[in-house]
Amino acid sequence: MSETILPELFALLSTDLFLLLSLLTCLLEERFPKAIPYVYQIAALAGFGHLLVSKEFLTTFSEYMRFWYSFFYLIVALANIIAINVYLGVSKKLWTLSKAWSGAVTFPTIAISVFFAVNYGYTQGAQFPLLLLQVGLVASLLVMGLSISALLLRSDLLNKLRRRR
């Protein structure tokens, strides 16, 4: 019997993505609010909590349920990556940095996530709707990414308005 991918892999991947975001936003701290790296560390800790809960309730939770809450957490992590990309490009007008971010962070992480999601879907056979999974992933990323970037932009706009007053 071959060893299959567990749904918690998505939670582990998301935890690492949040840690990556934390370190990168720390390196680019002049461009982001000061609390952002710490917020991402807390988000990564939440991922660890995810894994802890999964382990403790392994026999209680069905695989379907474990998949969806791990996958949702991955969507949140990827949406944050996209949001930062949009924030750098649209709000801060740092086009070069935004392009570098999309090439070095956004695209590789989405590619890796889609690869794991598709692979997981195949190994689980017909248990998960594969097309819905892929379309859902892309749609969720777009919606959440745009929402988070809108949130960041709005706060930035508010700051600008306050300064004008």
């Binding site: 582990l12 840690l19 370190l23 720390c26 790296p37 382990k55």
Partner: protein
């Protein structure tokens, strides 16, 4: 000077975050690994199985094995008043594996009925070497059954790969035992 201060502060902040990131990443990976360990219990076919002995079909004995040969049901075993009746090879325990397996006979469901009809029912794990042989004796004093309680007869014994040992059954009914009365005993073969 001011620039150096900022750089130092940023470095310290980054180092702190890096350290906590490493801790979180390691702990998460360890947690995931423990999950994979918890979920990769594999089912193996049993190496030690039952095998129908040469006594099956004789002396009223019928031996039925399940599909995986992991349970054996012996029916039609006879006990005669005041005489020991022996089934030398009703069912066998066979080690299909290549390595030695530790096994023992142990009680599962003890007899409770018709103690006034039987003297004893004894099971012997008839190992090739006499020193390795193990008994499991159920005796009756005419009022109640005495089942094996001590662990001395339950100690394990090693059966080499490819070997098969018969479980010999000895029966004896009381002189006043009523014909047609039955008793049911369930024993286990524990394998380490």
């Amino acid at each position: 000077m001011k620039l150096k201060k900022i750089q130092f502060r940023k470095s310290m902040k980054f180092l702190t975050l890096l350290l906590t990131s490493m801790i979180i990443a390691t702990a998460s990976a360890a947690m995931y690994y423990s999950l994979t360990m918890a979920s990769t219990v594999e089912v193996y076919a049993a190496n030690v199985v039952f095998w129908v002995g040469t006594d099956s079909g004789t002396k009223g004995l019928v031996v039925i094995l399940n599909g995986a040969n992991t349970t054996a049901t012996l029916t039609g075993l006879r006990a005669y008043p005041n005489a020991t009746f022996t089934y030398t090879d009703p069912v066998r325990v066979k080690n299909k594996g290549g390595t030695t397996a530790q096994l023992r006979l142990s009680p599962d469901v003890n007899p409770s009925a018709n103690a006034d009809d039987f003297e004893y029912v004894k099971f012997l794990l008839n190992a090739t070497t006499s020193g390795d042989r193990k008994w499991l004796n159920y005796t009756s004093n005419g009022v109640s059954w005495t089942s094996p309680t001590g662990s001395t007869s339950w100690t394990t014994t090693g059966i080499t790969g490819g070997s098969s040992w018969p479980i010999v059954v000895y029966t004896k009914a009381r002189p006043a035992g009523v014909s047609g009365q039955t008793v049911t005993i369930v024993i286990k073969v524990d394998v380490d």
